[in-house]
């Protein structure tokens, strides 16, 4: 095959991979949205009573049922729900009449995306650095073994257990970071919260990268690079790392769900405004349109990040799109 045609075929495969990811992402969002819908309407219990409580009168219940269209047949409700999703309009918030549910979700999306983005960046960079330090010749053997052990321990540490303790040590005892709930926490607060969120991710990235680097460590292309006079740093970072991008991107993608859950925990702990806080508030006040919108938005955030990761992977690594 001439080079131009090969490049065109490769590009075609790239778009095919992207297209299949988009379809899969849409399926995940649809599944999550449908689960929320089904859970709120089909499970035993009257949603209108969930909203108003047991003491509510029949007239009020009827009014809420009409607002939420609960008096229509289930399929009609489902069609209306899907139409609303496609138009990004799930009706007004029950607790703040006049504000659309999606507007409240949009307000909350940015802080959570910011938190998650900083956490993914910090976690991926820290994990890769730890793996390179543990693989390269710079540290003594014992130091490298300690990095490996540290990664294992960090990967097994639950965020919900260590985050409060670390916060207590650093915010209350050492007073180097803002206290939870501090409204003036600013960039320091964001950095600290994302740093905590990044720890499990960094540990998983570090372990996987370490294993992948160990696999390519003896490969001829690294020996050649070393024989041509490249320094160890250049050999590991410029030659070895690009070959293991696949596992790194995959492990980041599989950790995203956990990261989103961790973001909810941390938002609650630091009293930060965000998608997690909004979901919990909507849950506590039974604001069903906001709850549905927020969960779907969280799912959307999740699949978008995953699809971006996959696109980066196939763009960097020709093996991922089946090129020979």
């Amino acid at each position: 095959m001439p080079p131009t045609r090969r490049a065109a075929a490769s590009l075609g495969r790239f778009w095919r991979v992207v297209a299949s990811r988009v379809i899969e992402s849409a399926a995940v969002v649809l599944a999550l949205a449908s689960l929320v819908f089904v859970a709120l309407r089909v499970l035993p219990g009257d949603p209108a009573r969930l909203v108003l409580g047991d003491a509510a009168g029949e007239a009020d219940l009827a009014r809420v049922r009409a607002t939420l269209h609960l008096d229509e047949p289930l399929l009609a409700q489902y069609a209306r729900f899907l139409r609303g999703l496609s138009r990004v309009d799930l009706g007004d918030s029950l607790r703040r009449p006049g504000t659309s549910a999606m507007a409240r979700v949009g307000e909350a999306l940015a802080p959570t995306a910011e938190l998650a983005l900083v956490a993914v960046t910090v976690g991926a960079v820290a994990g890769v650095l730890a793996a390179v330090a543990a693989s390269g010749p710079w540290l003594p053997r014992r130091g490298r073994a300690w990095i490996d052990r540290g990664l294992v321990v960090a990967a097994a540490s639950p965020l919900v257990a260590f985050a409060p303790v670390v916060t207590w040590v650093l915010a209350v005892r050492a007073r180097v970071v803002p206290l939870p709930g501090d409204p003036d926490a600013g960039a320091g607060g964001l950095l600290f919260a994302s740093g905590l969120l990044a720890v499990p991710l960094a540990a998983h990235v570090g372990r996987v990268t370490r294993a992948a680097l160990a696999e390519v460590a003896g490969a001829p292309f690294l020996t050649v690079a070393g024989a041509k006079g490249a320094r160890p740093l250049r050999v590991w970072v410029v030659h070895a790392l690009p070959a293991v991008v696949g596992p790194i991107v995959t492990v980041v993608a599989t950790q995203l769900g956990a990261l989103l859950g961790g973001a909810v925990v941390l938002e609650r702990m630091f009293e930060r405004w965000g998608l997690g806080t909004l979901i919990l508030e909507a849950y506590a006040t039974r604001d069903l349109p906001v709850l549905e919108g927020a969960v779907v938005a969280a799912g959307l955030l999740f699949v978008t990040a995953q699809a971006l990761g996959a696109a980066v992977h196939v763009a960097i690594d020709p093996r991922a799109r089946g090129d020979r």
Binding site: P164, T254, V264
Partner: protein, 259 residues
């Protein structure tokens, strides 16, 4: 059979015994309030101190950890019982079913489980432990199915399985005698990490306010601890150590199945 494999169960046994002892020593129900002692520091009478409204932390932490272990063991075994046959069946059926189960595992494993739990639990007013366990089981079967599928795929082409078929053993005989014993050992290793994940997720759910309705949960203790971080740090430490010890013991117990 590897010697000393039961040693891996020792941490879990230690956690359970310590919690049972703690519950007995503390006496009385976990939810007993004693407002005069609210947030009191650890002392001889209250070994772990008190929390909000004077609950005895020793009683709360031990019974919460015991309940978390019970939930984790029940859900992991249930997911094991659902996922393993599904994976084996998919690998033996080959073709479309195999691909379908594989894709389903991919999707479920990549799912934001915590969001799913929030969404489904919002349909009940105050979730019970059964509700919470059911939500975890919705996604926990996938790793078992994936492992069983991968292992069966290796086994279905193995020489000893071929030999058994050639010697005239029936499908059921090959499955029970040759495939299953080699699948179960590999899949059972997952029990530990699933159990640990459930202990942690239950604590995380309770931490953000979706705990079981009896209020006895390690996440509830952590929530109290964060709220009273400045005046009663012992609450925080007790909750964090309990979550860490329980999940680590679960992880270690999973290694008992390793060969």
């Amino acid at each position: 059979m590897r010697r000393g494999r039961w040693l891996h169960l020792a941490p879990l046994a230690a956690v359970v015994v310590a919690c049972a002892l703690g519950a007995v020593l503390a006496g009385g129900p976990a939810a007993r309030l004693d407002p005069a002692r609210a947030w009191c520091a650890p002392s001889a009478a209250r070994l772990l101190g008190c929390g909000e409204a004077g609950v005895d932390l020793m009683a709360v932490v031990s019974s919460a950890a015991l309940r978390a272990v019970a939930l984790a063991v029940a859900v992991s075994l249930l997911s094991f019982a659902i996922g393993t046959p599904l994976g084996v069946a998919a690998a033996l059926a080959r073709g479309r079913l195999e691909r379908l189960v594989e894709r389903a595992c991919d999707l479920v494993q990549a799912f934001p489980t915590f969001m799913l739990a929030l969404a489904v639990l919002s349909a009940v007013r105050a979730p019970s432990r059964v509700h919470i366990g059911a939500v975890f089981a919705l996604t926990a079967w996938a790793p078992f199915a994936r492992l069983a599928l991968a292992q069966t795929r290796v086994l279905r082409g193995a020489a000893f399985v071929e030999a058994a078929v050639a010697l005239g053993r029936g499908r059921a005989g090959v499955l029970l005698r040759h495939v299953m014993p080699n699948v179960l050992g590999v899949v059972a290793v997952q029990l530990g990490s699933t159990g640990a994940a459930i202990v942690v997720s239950e604590a995380a759910l309770a931490f953000v306010g979706l705990g079981p309705r009896d209020g006895v949960s390690l996440g509830g203790v952590l929530d109290q601890g964060v709220a009273a971080m400045l005046r009663a740090p012992h609450v925080l430490v007790a909750g964090a150590v309990a979550v860490f010890a329980t999940s680590a013991a679960m992880l270690a117990a999973g290694r008992a199945a390793e060969r």
